[in-house]
Symmetry: C2
Subunit: 344 residues, 2 copies
């Protein structure tokens, strides 16, 4: 009732107020005028969505996104949330199909920025052929949040014969990364610290499910896949080591790092191995399949700079060790503190 | 590596710091020592979960939870998040099976409270026979959040012949509520305002999937189901009116409201029709089935006070009208502002 008599939202100059989270008319209007058009969804008005899943292994993953700042070179929190969750589902060897999105918005947040974020999410979902099927909006008082947080959940289906896990790795397996590491984290940190470089550092945020499909199509026996987000490559390798009870030996010179990222890391006192990517993956496969898998990855737009960086070894200590570029050896430690808060 | 040398978390006196959201060792420890035991999950260490779904219509729903305060008579944000998402899935006529949970925690939040919330979630999930299969933890700086926010997503399966929707309602249908309205919202508001009453007002937070199953087992033709959370009964009826293009005529005297809730509403200047419940549902069914459905609801512990409160009518204006207890008529408006921020 009276819905038609309510003036349209002033997206250019308006701001979120507590009524937009109240579940009443203002919430309905926000959905109708901001989210539904951005997501290409008609809404329907129910608090749930029915989804269709073909036979297979259903995979689900969830992520909260609190990146700060919300907009950065190469993306924004919206694209990051969509791609990040697509990637977690893809790392199970599954094709991502559906997303849900829960927004926690701070009172006073500009509608124009919310609309921009929603549109970015819509575009990212469309590009990956994934549908945002249901969502939720809550508003917290000024000073009780920070702009907008977005929690996304992804659902996908994997072929029944695909079962990758960090627990499947065997000594002798090869480790491949799909591209240069640390771009996303350094793009955010450079912006926060007000650093500028000759070559702008751009977030690598991208949906990796297409690359993963190409990798499985190669026929290589893939044991484990993971995207090195928070904690970076170091965290992934240490997690794999814990899960499979193996160690790793990595060649520093083989790991792709952009010169600008490497330089920024030195300036900021960071190790690129600890810095987040948002469009890269780490794959472990049988050594005999490594070249075939590498070729399949390099043939894909998002894997052109893929490289074999080392392998798994028997190691009761589950150490991740690196042969440095200058010939030494060092242990690649799992980040224990928080050098890079709110990177995703 | 070295995981075993890290001292255990001091859950009694410790607090969340930024490292717990960094995706490294501290995050892994938080999962291992707080979330995994509470959820009865072993973790496994992958960023996704594989789930099994039997044939049927798969239903998904998501909700962000920002209730303040976090602990209240009858529950806490943890139980609320689990039950709320279970209920959204149940309102599709589906059996909830799996939950995901994304935590956004403010730096400095006491570990003891986080553990208490996680345990409450674990208990609520276990009671409803639902598994929390995967999650995520982010930490924001002090002053950029408010204790803890929890976004949950629920996945369930409905029989293929069940398809309830707010769009299915026809003039002549009956409207039933499962119990007294407004308990949850008033429990929160009374706490916030420091009000006390002779009879303590307790949140009605509860999982409704069992009640819904009993309702379908009655054989009644259920057109629509919805839980009146934010916006209360008024919002549900107005949403149904919009979705189905009907009006509603409600008898105020037939709507169960506890005297303490009614008194608190007067004191606070609230209309119980706008106040959230977290363990009630509104059902619309064919009038010829109403008595049968009512009997099935009253036979269930969570529907003992169920009541037929009115019906749907032809109305081009889609008005929700109420015959008041004193014989007048008034329009039950959709809440347009935010009288009750952060109620769930």
């Amino acid at each position: 009732m009276a819905k038609d008599r309510r003036p349209r939202l002033d997206i250019k100059r308006g701001a979120i107020d507590l009524s937009h989270g109240a579940g009443g008319r203002a919430t309905a209007q926000l959905i109708e005028e901001v989210f539904a058009p951005a997501f290409g969804a008609s809404g329907g008005g129910d608090d749930f969505a029915a989804i269709e899943l073909n036979a297979g292994r259903v995979v689900v993953s969830t992520d909260g996104h609190v990146v700060s700042p919300l907009f950065f070179p190469g993306g924004d929190i919206g694209a990051l949330a969509v791609n990040g969750t697509i990637n977690d589902v893809a790392m199970a060897g599954a094709r991502p199909l559906y997303l849900t999105a829960a927004f926690i918005i701070e009172e006073g947040f500009p509608l124009s920025e919310l609309a921009r974020i929603a549109q970015s999410m819509g575009r990212a979902a469309k590009a990956a052929n994934v549908r945002i099927v249901t969502g939720d909006t809550k508003v917290v008082e000024r000073g009780k949040g920070d702009g907008v947080f977005i929690a996304t959940t992804g659902i996908g289906v994997a072929p029944l014969n695909v079962a990758v896990s960090g627990a499947n790795i065997r000594p002798g397996d090869s480790v491949i990364v799909s591209g240069s590491i640390g771009d996303h984290g350094i793009a955010i940190m450079a912006l926060r610290e007000g650093l500028s470089f000759e070559a702008e550092i751009i977030s690598d945020t991208a949906p990796l499910h297409g690359l993963v499909e190409a990798m499985f199509a190669s026929g290589a026996e893939i044991r484990a896949l993971r995207d090195p987000t928070r904690g970076g490559l170091a965290a992934v390798l240490n997690e794999f080591a814990q899960q499979s009870g193996v160690g790793f030996r990595i060649e520093e010179a083989a790991v792709p790092v952009k010169p600008a990222v490497s330089g920024a890391c030195e300036l900021l006192g960071l190790d690129p191995f600890n810095v987040a990517c948002e469009g890269r993956l780490v794959a472990v496969c049988a050594a005999s399949d490594a070249e075939r898998l590498l070729a399949a990855m390099r043939a894909h737009a998002l894997g052109r700079e893929a490289a074999i960086i080392g392998g798994a070894v028997e190691d009761a200590h589950r150490f991740v060790q690196m042969k440095t570029a200058i010939g030494g050896n060092r242990i690649v430690a799992w980040l224990s503190g928080e050098q890079l808060p709110r990177i995703c």
